[in-house]
């Protein structure tokens, strides 16, 4: 089981917190499990987790070559978006209105996937401007990439339920159609 853990210091707009994600097996698709201390971190964790699926074993912009394969460590480096210093940084604004909080997370990831497909960019950071139970306004940031390691067709609503545990941490599992 692939297991990534991320703890990162917040920018000035956000409070202290952390998230972690791991990829779970599924017969045909990919499941991503995220836990986070805040709702905002849950969205950040989902975005970073999705970026890790998309960028798995893909060489960064400017380094791709036919039939060349980077070691699996490249995935981790890519998520940090540090490997290709010359790669173009892309920022986009997203506004999503949804039925409820569960749908909001999926709809947000769907918007990101569309932008990923159009601009060939792996987005892995976000600055949330407004988040309610059915509305999200955020800026996302990512890096241009020549090749994706894994093409995601869709983030699905299948069995998705955001839950809060006794310590107040949020948890969710998202199924991606790949």
């Amino acid at each position: 089981m692939t297991h990534f853990e991320r703890s990162e210091k917040k920018g000035s707009e956000r409070s202290e917190g952390s998230y972690s994600f791991k990829i779970l097996p599924h017969p045909a698709d990919v499941k991503l499990q995220i836990t986070a201390s805040t709702k905002e971190e849950l969205f950040q964790g989902a975005l970073a987790g999705m970026a890790s699926i998309i960028s798995s074993e893909a060489p960064p912009a400017g380094r791709a070559g036919k039939n060349k394969v980077l070691p699996s460590r490249a995935r981790q480096v890519l998520i940090d978006a540090k490997l290709s210093k010359n790669a173009q940084i892309v920022k986009e604004n997203i506004e999503v209105q949804s039925l409820d909080f569960n749908a909001l997370l999926v709809d947000f990831l769907s918007e990101v996937l569309a932008k990923t497909d159009i601009s060939h960019t792996v987005f892995n950071k976000l600055k949330i401007k407004k988040l309610t139970d059915n509305f999200l306004q955020t800026e996302i940031e990512g890096q241009k990439i020549d090749y994706f390691g894994q093409e995601i067709k869709a983030a699905t609503h299948h069995g998705l339920e955001i839950k809060q545990d006794k310590s107040g941490n949020y948890g969710v599992t998202i199924l991606f159609d790949i």
């Binding site: 692939t2 990829i23 097996p25 599924h26 017969p27 045909a28 698709d29 990919v30 798995s56 074993e57 893909a58 036919k66 039939n67 394969v69 949804s98 039925l99 749908a103 709809d107 769907s110 996937l113 569309a114 990923t116 497909d117 159009i118 060939h120 990439i145 090749y147 994706f148 390691g149 894994q150 093409e151 067709k153 869709a154 699905t156 609503h157 299948h158 069995g159 998705l160 199924l175 159609d177 790949i178």
Partner: protein, 479 residues
Amino acid sequence: MQKENLIKINNYLWEIPQSFRSDMLVPARFFANEKLMGGILKDRSLEQLINVCTLKGIKRYGLAMPDIHEGYASPIGGVAAIDIEEGIISPGMQGYDINCGMRILCSEYSEAEIKDKISKLAEKIYQEVPSGLGKGRKIKMNMSDLDKILERGAQKLVNDGYGEKEDLENCEAGGFLENADASVVSLLAKKRGQNQVGTLGSGNHFLEIQKVSEIYDEKIAEIFGLFQNQIVIMVHTGSRGLGHQVATDYIKEFMGLMDKYQIKIPDREFACVPFKSPEGQRGFRASQAAANYAWANRQMITYYVRKAWEHVLGKKTSSLKTLYDVAHNIIKLEKYKINNQLIELAIHRKGATRAFPPHHPDIPAKYQEAGQPVLIPGSMGTTSYILHGTKEAEQSFYSACHGAGRTMSRHEAIRKVQGQELKKAMEDQGIIVKVGFLSGLAEEAPAAYKDINEVVEVVHQAGLAKKVVQLKPLAVIKG
């Protein structure tokens, strides 16, 4: 699900009675033999099939083909026939890759005649057809041309010189569905589709150079123009980002309308509205437009494959002919007799290939005696099959399997199978491998799939379609 809950109808057909769960509107039926049953009971595919049986307007049975495996909403391999007067339309019941499907191109050459050119041909096809992950074509199509593709599919490209009239004759629906409407496809979906006509995509999508390795039915093989050791080219892809976005858009919209129409579903991915509602009609026309985009995609790939073929074998060689092109993720209007009344149904197929019988009005004149060619790919590097439609398949609303069906997750496959070793093993079998990333190769390893021979045997024995020829890969091209 326990085996004792199943009713054995015959050696290849099983039923879950309507009484099994109170919200089932019809019984569930699936095709499998004892050997495949073990795998089917291991995952949640039968639970998902039961969920299909709760869809409003479903007729006869919720059905699944022998390559059934767990997905989301419907299992992969699911078929739901929905009465358009009283029932719903559900994009999740066809999947995000609208009109993912198969096309086979036939050459007039045998393996012996061009064996020394196969490697060069594979390399040239790999160069001509963008197959990498997220790779599009360099030129973006203008929106006006894209709208025409959405409404006229492969026909638009053939009219523009990217194919032959015969390509359309030998394509499901003649290469386009008339109910398509570009105006109900979102701008976001169109932007995603602007540079992806003529691209394979990733995952299980591939292009293979194959040879006819075994003939089961000489007479029908001859009607299909197939002969022993003949070189053919198989294309597997769909509607790319445009189709994914159309499904995403309408699942989101329909989810917000469930209360309005008082529809209850066991999984949000089934999000649906009445087929005849204004929203349902819009969703249907958008889905048909995405299906047209997929036919155009496979048509453009055909154009580039032919270009590669001419480059390697010379311009004087005869052109590659389209044997057939058929979808396995789609919503189609088809007429069936239900309670002695001929009614129009919205057939939702998610990982199931349409398999029309002989004398069906919607198949080409030259296949009237044989039935529709049914194109079934095996997992990468293994055998594939061409079958023909039969009248017995009315029991499955003329549907057959769409492939082998996965048994192992992609990530598990990547962990267990070394891409480099798999490549070598395939090359040791004489298969040329052109692949962007070895992880992409590993996740499609044959070990991650059911045995295609077993799956096709069930299709054959159950009468859903009958075997005509077996195909063996000589070269695999994928992202």
